[in-house]
Symmetry: C2
Subunit: 192 residues, 2 copies
């Protein structure tokens, strides 16, 4: 819970009392490696704050191709915003890549928090804005950058996660083959 | 200005006095057909509410390929959220497809509104959430749906805009050739 408190105080101003009351709306959950927080077809009933571990949020096509939308590590939020907001079956999967810990808040409690604390409305306005910027950049990058450039951007976006993610995971994020990821990695290693 | 007032009252509760004060932060601008509200390389200094007309927000690749991110018509907001929020050169272009009218708000005035009215924070939190949902759906659809399905979704998303957008524009949104759009249109016409 301390991790969430620290995160919030870096984003918005909230009294200690309100901060504790807001954090008490969250429920901790342990998620074992290779387990799912959400599977496609389910309705996403939570917004999760990652306190430990790593998740991948991905879409699986009918033909079995997997495309990673993003990875979520410590201090990231993870949810299917579409399913959560509009109460519709999710098209995404959220899988733990390591033994992980999250704090979950329900839709009802989130609405309650909005009513009670304008600062929380601000927190989620800023957070949603950042998520929108990230997704827009990702979409533009897919259209305009080479795989090499996208790999370098990825490394900047997820610094220090190099050793946590396999070539297969990174490939599913970049939309290229894992052999091609190995090739880029070797090329960069040679340059350094 | 009445269009903006009507839009806001459908989204959040605000006293008449506050509503007028907020709307007074906007500046009207006429944009002629084929003129630009924003061109790539510029810093986006506004968030615009469309009161009349139609815009396309698109990315142009170095090779000259154009991909439409979205169209904005009456009651839509249009901006480059990344450039506007992070004060960085835009990678997008915003072009009027018809003679259009917008109401512009600056970053400074938007921040002022957030400080003054929690309801405006809510308005933009909800709006940003919707934009995020739309972009996420668009990304998933590109991965999982056929061009025919995406065309039908597009018609549902932009009802009544069929006659306002050329096959070339729709093709640049769907990421297919305009000949293919004509083919889908003929196929659907035969079915009806």
């Amino acid at each position: 819970m301390e991790i969430l408190k620290r995160y919030i105080t870096t984003q918005v101003q909230l009294s200690e009392e309100d901060l504790v009351a807001f954090c008490n709306l969250f429920t901790p959950r342990q998620v074992r490696r290779k387990s799912y927080l959400l599977q496609d077809g389910e309705i996403c009933k939570f917004e999760a704050f990652v306190t430990n571990g790593c998740f991948r949020v991905y879409h699986s096509s009918p033909s079995g191709d997997e495309q990673v939308l993003y990875f979520a590590t410590e201090n990231w939020w993870v949810t299917d915003i579409d399913s959560f907001t509009n109460i519709r079956p999710s098209e995404l999967n959220i899988e733990a890549l390591e033994d992980s810990e999250v704090l979950l808040i329900s839709k009802k409690d989130k609405e309650l928090a909005y009513q009670q604390w304008p600062e929380i409305e601000r927190l989620f306005r800023i957070m949603t804005q950042r998520a929108l910027v990230a997704l827009q950049r990702r979409m533009i990058d897919n259209l305009s950058k080479t795989a090499d450039e996208r790999y370098i951007d990825f490394m900047e976006r997820y610094p220090g996660h190099y050793h946590r993610l396999s070539n297969v995971q990174i490939a599913a994020y970049l939309g290229i083959s894992h052999e091609f990821v190995s090739k880029i990695r070797r090329k960069i290693a040679r340059k350094n």
